[in-house]
Amino acid sequence: MHLAEKDLAALIRAVQDSDVTRFDLVTPDFEIHIARGDDADTDVAPLPQSSTASPEAPAAPAPVAAAPALAAAVPAAAAEGLVEITAPMIGIFYTAPEPGADPFVALGSTVEAGMTVGLVEAMKLFTAVEAGAGGIVEQMLVSNGDYVEFGQPLVRLRPTA
């Protein structure tokens, strides 16, 4: 995937002018993250060489033992035509609003854009994980109570339509 600089600028403007709350674009050369809300910031990030989220292929193992946890993760979603919901922050992932309650979503659930699919807690503060697009939950990648890193894939949806 190759994008010229002006394409990028136009893309960022278009996303910013929309009501999208979170936008992530990852290419082998860079990442763009646009978020609304508490952490609103527009980043054009260089992609680390042994990337964690390359849509093309599973990340190569890092050259040293201390590979970031993300790098060892699950096969890429894009190849399977799935949409990934990632952690908006580092913290503990919860599938339900409180212990004993029904989970926000389960395998097979139909999810609409903007719907909460889980919570991430950091220092007693809970942040909702919202679906950026609609679809059917095809994979739940982490369990209730797991620590997750920022950007870690949590749920994969099969897009509707």
């Binding site: 952490d39 680390p48 964690t52």
Partner: protein, 457 residues
């Protein structure tokens, strides 16, 4: 929330920083024999520090506000990584009482002074009060002055030159240097006019004006009981717009009595507040008057700590980790020996030909100097992409030798060997500073570099 609740533990450290200092702390953890986990933004996931650590955890997007500056993300990363301590490095959250508080709340050890001390030294007012109480000289100044006559009386006491300053306002407006008593009347009237025009307020006061100041700082470490050691001083007077570029240890060409007094002031201040980590007390030395006054305390490890390590043989970051773990100071003051001279040049990814504009980008060729008496602290490598989000420091090139001239020569050689391709750097520029006769003769001061004619190619 009592800091005496549990004995501090440091067996696995979350490093909440990036760049060369993150790598420096990873290495110190190895030296001390404790685990190291690095918290990184997505921009730094593949950094040398992240790869050198036992584990790296992604805490947020490249923007520091959403990653390295988020207390909750850092604390959560420590918990996720099974850490019992957090090292904040310098910058970012290093002086954050909020992080220190959060550590106490969550049962983590903050590798730095207690929140009480961070608050104390985080405020200019309380820091000055502490210094005054410890008998440390402060910059001489007056209260608000009624008129030029009162100003003349005050200036006679302060000694000329003096600086007239508005009580409210800033940015240089209403400020005037007065060199002699007969200039006071006119200068005071003009300053008052300017102050009213700019800030709608006529209140003025005087400060002693230091034409040529040297930035001298003292490296200290305390155990929290009032015992404080110093590790000698550093001179960081070579500054470009208040950014340090060249630092050295010890501070050269200071009269012995003045140097002793400065060191003793630093120890007295930190002892009086029961300082409990490594830190630096900064002073301005008035070259013309031959005296000095307190500037501030940096309650953390500093960028330029390496030159002190080179002349003392002491690993200050390892010491910092050990103090955080509750270990006592392992030496007496007499056992701390300062030998030789060490100088550091900061090399930044900036283009001196374009007004020092940052020059992030891919490093296509990287050959740092090595060899006897040369030390380079850097997180860069061939193929590394200097990200555009953070400060532009790419390497600290240091040299140590038996004396200052030999250290300069060795550092010039090291800079001449240093090759960094693919991005613009300040390597050549800092090399030229070392060659300046004023630098060799220790005639430089904090405004020296800014007044120097731009050296030509």
């Amino acid at each position: 929330m009592s800091s005496t609740a549990a004995p501090p533990r440091v067996s696995r450290v979350l490093i909440a920083n990036r760049g060369e200092i993150a790598l420096r702390v990873v290495r110190a953890c190895r030296t001390v024999g404790v685990g190291a986990v690095v918290a990184t933004s997505t921009a730094d996931l593949d950094s040398l520090a992240a790869r050198s650590a036992d584990r790296a955890l992604c805490i947020g997007p490249p923007s520091a506000a959403a990653s390295y500056l988020k207390v909750a993300a850092v604390v959560t990363a420590a918990q996720m990584g099974g850490c019992d301590a957090i090292h904040p490095g310098y910058g970012f959250l290093a002086e954050s009482p909020e992080l220190a508080d959060a550590c106490v709340e969550e049962g983590l050890t903050f590798v730095g002074p207690s929140a009480r001390l961070l608050r104390l030294f985080g405020s200019k007012v309380s820091a000055r009060e502490a210094a005054r109480a410890a008998g440390v000289p402060l910059s001489a100044g007056t209260e608000e002055l009624a008129d030029a006559q009162a100003a003349r009386a005050a200036a006679d006491e302060l000694g000329y030159p003096v600086l007239i300053k508005p009580v409210r306002g800033g940015g240089g407006k209403g400020m005037r240097v007065v060199s002699a008593a007969e200039e006071m009347e006119a200068a005071f009237a003009l300053a008052r006019q300017e102050a009213i025009a700019a800030f709608g307020d006529s209140a003025l006061y005087l400060e002693r004006w230091v034409a040529r100041a040297r930035h001298v700082e003292v490296q200290v470490a305390g155990d929290g009981t009032g015992t404080v050691l110093h590790f000698g001083d550093r001179d960081c007077s070579v500054q470009r717009r208040q950014q340090k570029l060249v630092e050295e240890a010890p501070a050269p060409a200071l009269p012995a009595a003045l140097q002793d007094a400065i060191r003793e002031s630093a120890v007295a201040l930190c002892s009086s507040v029961r300082y409990n980590s490594v830190g630096t007390v900064e002073f301005l030395v008035d070259v013309d008057r031959g005296d000095y006054f307190f500037l501030e305390v940096n309650p953390r490890i500093q960028v330029e700590h390496g030159v002190t390590e080179l002349v003392t043989g002491i690993d200050l970051v390892a010491l910092q980790l050990r103090l955080a773990a509750g270990e006592p100071l392992p030496w007496t003051q007499d056992e701390v020996r300062i030998e030789g001279a060490a100088i550091e040049c900061r090399v930044n990814a900036e283009d001196p030909d374009l007004g020092f504009r940052p020059s992030p980008g891919r490093i296509t060729g990287w050959h740092p100097p090595t060899g006897a008496g040369v030390r380079v602290d850097s997180h860069c490598e061939q193929g590394y992409l200097v990200p555009p989000f953070y400060d532009s420091l790419i390497a600290k090139v240091m040299a140590v030798a038996a004396d200052r001239e030999a250290a300069i020569t060795r550092l010039e050689g090291a800079l001449a060997e240093f090759r960094c391709e693919g991005i613009a750097t300040t390597t050549t520029l800092v090399g030229r500073i070392l060659a300046e006769p004023d630098f060799h003769a220790v005639r430089h001061h904090t405004k020296w570099l800014d007044t120097l004619p731009q050296p030509k190619e």
